[in-house]
Amino acid sequence: MSIQNREAFLNNVASKLGRNRLTEPVERPTYSVQPQWRVFAGQSQDELVNRLEEQCEKIHTVMKRTTLENLNATLTAALEDYNGQSIVAAKDERNEQFGLSSYYASLKEQGKDVHVWDVSKGKENIAIAEKADVGITFSDITLAESGTVTLFNNKGNGRSISLLPQTYIAVIPKSTIVPRMSGAGKHIHEANQEGHDVSSCVSFITGPSNSADIEMNLIVGVHGPVKATYIVVEDM
């Protein structure tokens, strides 16, 4: 049985609320205030990149700007920063468009250990990710205000890539940047209403992992990656 005890449970909820069960779809009210749309309203894409950069400083994240032509070089520099010898990367249709497929091939030729997520390898992908120095994915929606990359994890972009390696690099097409989380929420809400299923895991990632559980001291790097780099690519 996929759902158990629902009727009695919800009947009780309704009766405590002093009415019968709701059978018709509930209309969401128009809320009296909507301050979320005022944040960074009217800012150009370039201004949003600046906002993102300001926030990156606060979240212990390195942000680099680059062009499509220079993306490879920028990635190479970032990998050097992390002394990245083994790399796990998402399989993404944008790999071609951004020249990453050939880049990964060239890294392999240079003797680096590069694994692009491969469904046919099953759980082995996870074991590889666990050993990798660096995980690389694209950002699907980028939130300037909070410095967040949003990933719609799927069969090519496994959850482990941005999670298990010691360090994480997000490639951010400039066109994916929106002012704040409201843009992502609206996008997913509207897609859902149009009948598109949301991905099995939506990851909003804001810099490296951290904790303040010991005497409220900020420790950067706990269970998730201990360092993170964002590379913003001019794609507009």
Partner: protein, 475 residues
Amino acid sequence: MGIKIGNAPFKERIQEGISNDFMRGAVSSAQGRMRTGRLTAAEELGDWEDWRVLGEEIRSHTLTNLDYYLQQLSDQVVKRGGKVFFAQTAEEANEYVQNVIKQKNAKKIVKSKSMVTEEIGLNAAIEQAGAEVIETDLGEWILQLDDHDPPSHIVTPALHKNKEQIRDTFAEKKGYDKSSKPEELAAFAREQLREDFLTADVGITGCNFAVAESGAVTLVTNEGNARLATSLPDTQISVMGMERIVPTWEDLDIVVSLLTRAAVGQKLTSYVTAITGTRLEEEVDGPEDYHLVIVDNGRSNILGTEFQSALHCIRCAACINVCPVYRHVGGHSYGSIYPGPIGAVLTPLLDGYDNHKELPYASTLCAACTEACPVRIPLHEHLIRHREIIVEKENKAPASEKLMMEGFAKWGSHPAAYKLSAKMARTALKPWTKDEKITNGPGPLKGWTDVRDFPAPSKQSFRAWFKSREKGGNK
């Protein structure tokens, strides 16, 4: 463990808290940081009052239509391959989880921080089912290793411990041999727990907010442990209090934005992770078997009452972080896994007045909590309502207090009696008065003068002065 922690009477717990200097220092500095963080974050965001109003409206709308949204949520989760269990009680929830563990023949469970699982005592139930359960949030792991010390704060559960105590616990239980530097302690936890994540059979999480429209369960964390617990084990169980739900992803944005700012002053935490059902065809990580357990455990009794807005709580602990009473007595003094102002409101509602009748009085009603709450729960008003119920319905006020209040009513409703007492006050207190002050007052005044002086009543009451002035007397 359940909602109630410890068996010592309230006054003893308070004394223990007050005399714990390390804890008080830690709490005080933590409060300072979190309060500053919250205020700065609110200021940077701008329109904070509008955000609070919006948060309140979303929570209020959701709770008013809770049966609909829970139905929608469960339909969506099932559509995405998950199973949903509605648990009226803690026992039902625990039994369901035990059954899943037994069916899977699971031996090792990794768990990310969750207050509702503390509330229902899930860990004990899992151990009963013969499996090992490992708390993976750094703070929770510390507490678990330290012989299941209870949490003292809902966001930073090990706030009452210092790094030397933590190092000793790690050394004793896990053979740790490095320093008490927080970074080294955390690195040790990463290394130890990573192995557990990779080998666990089941991952258990709580739920910050479920999204009804799509069946997502959202986890708001910084360490990444909730991501690991939802990515690696093949079986996942999410346990949610039934009120932890929003209608849509647009609403999720608002409540998450309020939560992270109000809790720690972050614009967003490092990870906000929304899990929907099982992993899809060809996906490698994420669970193949997904269970959502929706827990009532007394919550429905709050619906439709004057306390309904207490269910709007988004568990940010902003009220705890501004509470001066919490600062001085610490979390354990409340005798509940939910401490501070929200704890003093929720605990008696979920667990009855018998064990918790002192909690609503553990507040000066200064309303700092109400002012800080990001979804505008009138916490101090709820505390007054609790007091009213304790006095007038439960009849639990001390006899001496009842007597005094009867006297008060007569005094306050009879101006002649009031006037006489105003006139007599100075004379009546004369035996205890010295140099215009009282340092060892009688009766109820003793509680006052034990810790501070009480002034002698004025030589002439105001009303006497006003009267003589009207007659053209002294000015």
